[in-house]
Amino acid sequence: MFVVPLRCYTSGNKAYFLLRMTIRQQFPFFTQTDTVYLDTAATSQKPQSVIDALSTFYSCQNSNVHRGSYQSANQTTSLYEQTREDVARFINADAPENIIWTSGTTAAINKVCRSLSHAFDKDDVIVVLGSEHHANFVPWQQLAATKQLRFEVVNILANGDVDMTHFRQLMHLKPKLVCMQHCSNALGNIHPIERLVEEAKSSGAMTLVDGAQAVAHLSVDVLDIGCDFYVFSGHKMYAPTGIGVMYVSPNAAPKLLPSEFGGEMISVVTKQKTKFRPFPHFMETGTPNISGVIGLSAALEFIQSDEFQRAQKSEAKLYQYLLDKLSALPNVKLVGNRERNIGVASFYIDNESNADVGALLDQQGIAVRVGHHCAMPLMTALGLAGTIRASLGVYNSEIDVDRFIDALSKTIELLDI
């Protein structure tokens, strides 16, 4: 077990520090390694309960869903469908029928893209934010190229926020679809998503929100946001990899067409033609990632636990601690809106290559992400080759931040040759 050093954290913060350390004990990863893990924005570590759920499923419950006429298959199906209800409640969706399983955020966006492609005609406009992850940028750019649509990118301000003036100018083009990230993966900025969606809708657009970075940090209410699609991945919210969610609003559902074909999504197949099952059934075909869904169910329980919720509330304090320490180092330049942020410190060091910084941090057991973070258009707009990104999870504490800062000071010193 990790021994808490006698370094004193101010008394007011002690309670939340201890709470975070208790939560950390639920993550076996940290008993196996001494790594300072500051890459939760890439993927989160998994609590024991999620690992146990997977193990129990494969040891005791394994069977396919929706097909069996026997008891264990029915039990698995009911657990699987129960999770759909839990996810619907988690993001305040209308009903479980509005939740579609995918393998992740990227797959969900691509699926919306294919299922909706028929709705676009030449010269229709698709708008994305300039800070998007490539997953919410490239599919739309490619669709636009194939169907001769107009692909417009909203300008980004120097702090990574949306240039609202430009956003409104683009809304005057009456876009058919506006795709927006809820939070920036590269910088952590929380965008004013309700306002963006509202303005997009009032210009007549459909809206898709990439919530990959948001779900583990913010309480998400899709009805409040009012978007047509809200997509996210399990693995960034303490669930396994390979499971993701696509929320489709009742309003948007009739606009979708089947885009993947196979078993389960059909009602009648003859040699001449196939009749599809109604929405949402035609959106899911083939054996799904059942264990992923079961793992997601455990992760939801973890995230909604009182303990997690209380620890999560202290994230802002820990984030401020990280920012204060970083700002005190020479030549560290922070990027992004640090007032509205999900606990991401994105920065570079004047005149140093990010790759060098990353390599020397790695030598000291610090796990951070270095590079363009799959957001090249954003980096280009900011005039940066990339950044070093330290992102917080519920298991991080001041101990991690202190070790990271010590390692970074040493890195800066070593690079000065």
Partner: protein
């Protein structure tokens, strides 16, 4: 300046490299020495920093140009990262101005392992060393 002129400015041998790196007593010292070795490479000219010379698979920018002269491979490799430059010095000491046979016979794995930098050669690393070595080997194979 042409490639041959540029590349003959680099004169460190693998023995020089070993002597420098193996005397380091800590990882800090070793990385410092590595970066200092990188400084021994003449600055890679800005006008050569073109996309067509860029080595794919590196997190930082790496450019590679070559010329065969009198059966020897003359290399010009540039990078904007200090550690990568150090690793490039290691590559140059092994391959620069060598014949195709000398390059083929050189045990790169063993060399990096001896310097306790074996891990840096892994394709999963983003430093680009693997990509650089692969490209040099391809130059020899396709000659």
């Amino acid at each position: 300046m042409n490639i041959v002129e540029y590349s003959t400015q680099f004169t460190l041998s693998t023995d020089d490299i070993k002597q420098t790196l193996l005397s380091s007593k800590s990882w800090e010292e070793k990385y410092r020495s590595l970066m200092l070795l990188g400084k021994k490479i003449a600055p890679y000219p800005v006008e050569w920093q073109l996309q067509e010379f860029q080595v794919q698979g590196c997190e930082s920018n790496v450019w590679l140009q070559h010329e065969w002269k009198e059966n020897r491979l003359f290399l010009a490799i540039g990078s904007d990262a200090k550690i990568v430059k150090g690793l490039v010095a290691l590559v140059l000491s092994a391959f620069n101005q060598k014949t195709a046979d000398q390059i083929k016979d050189f045990d790169t794995q063993a060399y990096f392992a001896e310097l306790s930098l074996g891990g840096q050669l892994s394709p999963s690393r983003t430093n680009g060393l693997h990509a650089i070595v692969t490209q040099v080997m391809a130059l020899v194979a396709n000659r």
